[in-house]
């Protein structure tokens, strides 16, 4: 099978040559149930998702269950994380309403961060959000909440009126603009909210899997004059990409929480 990735690696294999290099495909995201006879939903991604929740609860409990005026140890770390979310994520969008939504935003940020970081922890190595169901659930939660808050604070008519009719336009132009606003706010915004996180994690996992497989294959199974440099290159690129991936994992968790704060903020106050 000749794939673009094989051509990139400078080799072409005859079709169906056994033991040849096979670039990883989407099948690396499919997992069987954890053990024979386990329920079909109990796979590695769901286990990791639940594990992340447990880790988050334990860490936050340890940090804030018994808070001291002068923080020490875990509480210090927890407060730095909390302040980061409050000052960088929540405040620019929520202003004086920040404190009400901090529990939600802190939970979202750290849960998504843990999900993502699972992608580079040795042996675990699977970013939970690369299964789109997980980001969809979070984004849908925010979506329902934002419509509820919008109707509650701006009224059922006012909310949609403020959303669809920006002031300062001659009336006939609204016929052209209102459908764009409606589609953008009610359908594309939540869609991109979930897909942005999913696609980044999916692509990152594919890249890491590909380069580590290149390194492994050429160093251990096809070691030779051509194989050795390729294997070393693959390994080096894997290390570099892991670094980049850690940065992206953090960035996407930040963006996901930030967009959640932005959507909530838009519902609390009419835009302009």
């Amino acid at each position: 099978m000749i794939t673009p990735t094989l051509l990139l690696a400078g080799i072409s294999l005859a079709p169906a040559e056994p033991g040849g290099f096979h670039a990883p495909g989407p099948e690396i995201f499919n997992f069987p149930p954890l053990w024979a006879g386990a329920p079909a939903w109990l796979t590695k991604p769901t286990l990791l998702a639940m594990l992340s929740v447990v880790i988050l609860i334990v860490v936050m409990w340890g940090a804030f269950a018994n808070p001291k005026l002068v923080p020490r140890g875990l509480q210090n770390v927890g407060e730095i994380g909390y302040m980061f979310v409050r000052d960088q994520v929540a405040r620019p969008f929520l202003g004086k309403d920040t404190d009400r939504f901090m529990p939600l935003l802190v939970s979202i940020f750290f849960l998504v961060l843990l999900w993502n970081v699972m992608g580079v922890i040795p042996i675990i190595q699977f970013p939970v959000a690369s299964h789109i169901a997980f980001p969809i659930v979070l984004a849908a939660t925010i979506y329902v909440m934002r419509i509820y808050l919008g109707i509650k604070y701006q009224g059922p008519i006012g909310y949609f009126k403020n959303m669809m009719f920006p002031p300062g336009v001659p009336k006939p132009v609204y016929i052209l603009l209102a459908p764009i606003e409606l589609l953008s706010n009610l359908i594309l915004a939540p869609f991109t909210h979930a897909v942005r996180l999913f696609a980044n994690m999916f692509a990152g996992h594919m890249i890491l899997a590909f380069f580590s497989l290149v390194g492994f294959y050429f160093l251990f199974e096809n070691f030779g004059l051509l194989g050795a440099p390729l294997g070393i290159l693959g390994t080096l690129v894997t290390i570099a990409m892991t670094g980049l991936e850690i940065f992206i994992q953090y960035l996407q968790a930040f963006l996901f929480a930030m967009l959640a704060a932005m959507y909530i903020g838009q519902s609390l106050h009419a835009e302009h």
Binding site: R91, P92, F93, G95, P166, G168, V169, L176, L177, P179, I180, E181, L183, S184, N185, I187, L188, A189, T192, M258, L259, M262, G265, Q266, E271, H272
Partner: protein, 71 residues
Amino acid sequence: MSEQKRTPENDGRDFADAAWSVPAYLMSGILVWGGFGWLLSHWTGVYAFIPIGVVLGVGLAAYLVYLKHGR
């Protein structure tokens, strides 16, 4: 923007709002009016309605971004 106080906080918020809503607006513009153009071309058989709709949609979306964030 006109009625709102121009504090540094609001400026930051407005900037980020603009940055993240632009792609969604452009996509919606293309989908809504490009889709309308596609429907028209489907009914009338004049294919020119599709590109006209897409270009109109992008233009309207850009205008909308200007309305909300550019003034």
